[in-house]
């Protein structure tokens, strides 16, 4: 045992870096939506980067600790409190047996990662502790947390690592409006030149339905498709294709109206054409977008995407070297 849930928050789940290797069977990769923040949270408390943490979205949980632990909260600015006293985000702190961790209202971002020294100890399912909610797979009993849950914490290694902090320059968060960099995809040719230009010109807003499965964007101009006779097996809407695999990060636009970026709990295939893919380094940012936030899609090439990934990884390397 290690923690007892007093109030669960909105949809707090156990997540690690995910469950790759089964997407072709329809089981998504899951794992934290902001993987950089998740890794940082673990590093701050001396865990392996892939240890399981709690992902809290929009609203923090209230948790009583039944043993001593070191804790860190990264990602969204969801200020943590220990017995009512504020603690700093992106910085590790100690919690004693009997103390209660709770949170202020969300100040910025969307998802906070709560790492506890020793890691959340739930069974490993298909190589991961991450919850895939729709499949009732992994996590704590295959679901988000509920009041009264008692959850185990792994053995912590070594001494307290309290007061370690990620410097402000390395706390990655999306700007406002957020920029999501995109590489055009194999169905890019299906939309008109005008639609291609509008897609990047328009400022989109996050729809309230956005979740771990996909983020939907609205308020941009509808995309028009190039006329064609739909091939055998494709649906009748011009945004339909013959069913295909959906990559993580791919952008589909059902009916040409509202782009959806598939995220960690996405379906693995279907019949909507994908006009492009958000680059891997920017997928973390999507996990930090609140409903109604403004977003611009920015076209980049593969070299840029790889350079940005490299830059993100060197930031992570700096966090690994924090004493």
């Amino acid at each position: 045992m290690g923690i007892r849930v007093i109030s669960p928050g909105l949809a707090t789940s156990v997540q690690d870096l995910g469950r790759p290797g089964y997407y072709h069977l329809g089981i998504p990769i899951s794992g934290g939506m902001d993987r950089y923040a998740l890794r940082c949270a673990n590093l701050l408390v001396g865990n392996a980067e892939n240890a399981a943490v709690l992902e809290a979205v929009f609203l923090g949980p209230e948790i009583e600790f039944t043993r001593n632990a070191t804790v860190s909260v990264t990602g969204a600015n969801l200020p943590p409190k220990v017995d009512g006293d504020i603690r700093e985000g992106w910085t590790s702190f100690d919690i004693k047996k009997g103390q209660v961790l709770s949170f202020e209202y969300l100040q910025a971002g969307a998802r906070a990662y709560i790492a506890i020294s020793g890691g959340i100890d739930v069974p490993v399912v298909l190589g991961s502790r991450s919850l895939y909610g729709l499949g009732a797979l992994g996590g704590f009993n295959g679901r988000t947390l509920q009041a009264g849950d008692e959850i185990g914490i792994g053995e912590k290694s070594g001494n307290s690592l309290a007061a370690r902090s990620v410097p402000a320059t390395l706390r990655r968060m999306p700007g406002s409006p957020a920029e999501l960099r995109v590489i055009s995809g194999i169905y890019w040719h299906r939309i008109t030149e005008e639609a291609k230009a509008n897609f990047f010109e328009d400022t989109w807003r996050v729809a309230s339905e956005a979740d771990r499965i996909g983020y939907r964007f609205q308020k941009g101009r509808p995309l028009s498709f190039i006329d064609r006779k739909q091939p055998f097996g494709a649906g009748s809407d011009p945004s339909n294709i013959v069913d295909s695999c959906y990559p993580y990060g791919s952008i589909q636009v059902p009916g040409g109206t509202e782009p959806i970026v598939l995220h960690r709990d996405a379906v693995s295939g279907g019949g909507y054409c994908m006009i492009g893919t958000v680059i891997s380094a920017d997928m973390d940012y999507i996990g930090q977008l609140q409903p109604n936030m403004e977003v611009n899609f920015v076209e980049v090439d593969l070299d840029t995407a790889l350079a940005v990934r490299h830059e993100r990884n060197s930031g992570l390397q700096q966090v690994r070297e924090i004493e």
Binding site: L10, L106, Q107, A110, S208, E209, P291, N292
Partner: protein
């Protein structure tokens, strides 16, 4: 005098009615007590009740029905 507010715990879309064909939870001038529902927030494909954490009388709504709201945003001014 207005000196208290009810804030939204979540970002999302604010609704004043439990369903489109039903009357609003509360109107200006209505009394609220701790735990009374004053509206709904829609986010991530589900609806969450906004409950008052204090007692008073509703002086005004600070956002319209179906407005987008941020976490911590004041929704209602309350009089004692």
């Amino acid at each position: 005098m207005s000196n208290q507010q009810i804030v939204s715990p979540l970002p999302g879309i604010f609704y004043r009615r439990p369903a489109p064909d039903q009357p609003p939870f509360k109107e200006v001038g209505d009394a609220v007590s701790v735990g009374n529902v004053i509206g709904l927030i829609e986010v991530m494909k589900s609806f969450h009740e906004v409950k008052s954490d204090r007692a008073g009388t509703i002086a005004q709504f600070l956002v319209d029905n179906e407005d987008a709201v941020m976490a911590g945003q004041p929704l209602v001014d309350l009089n004692d």
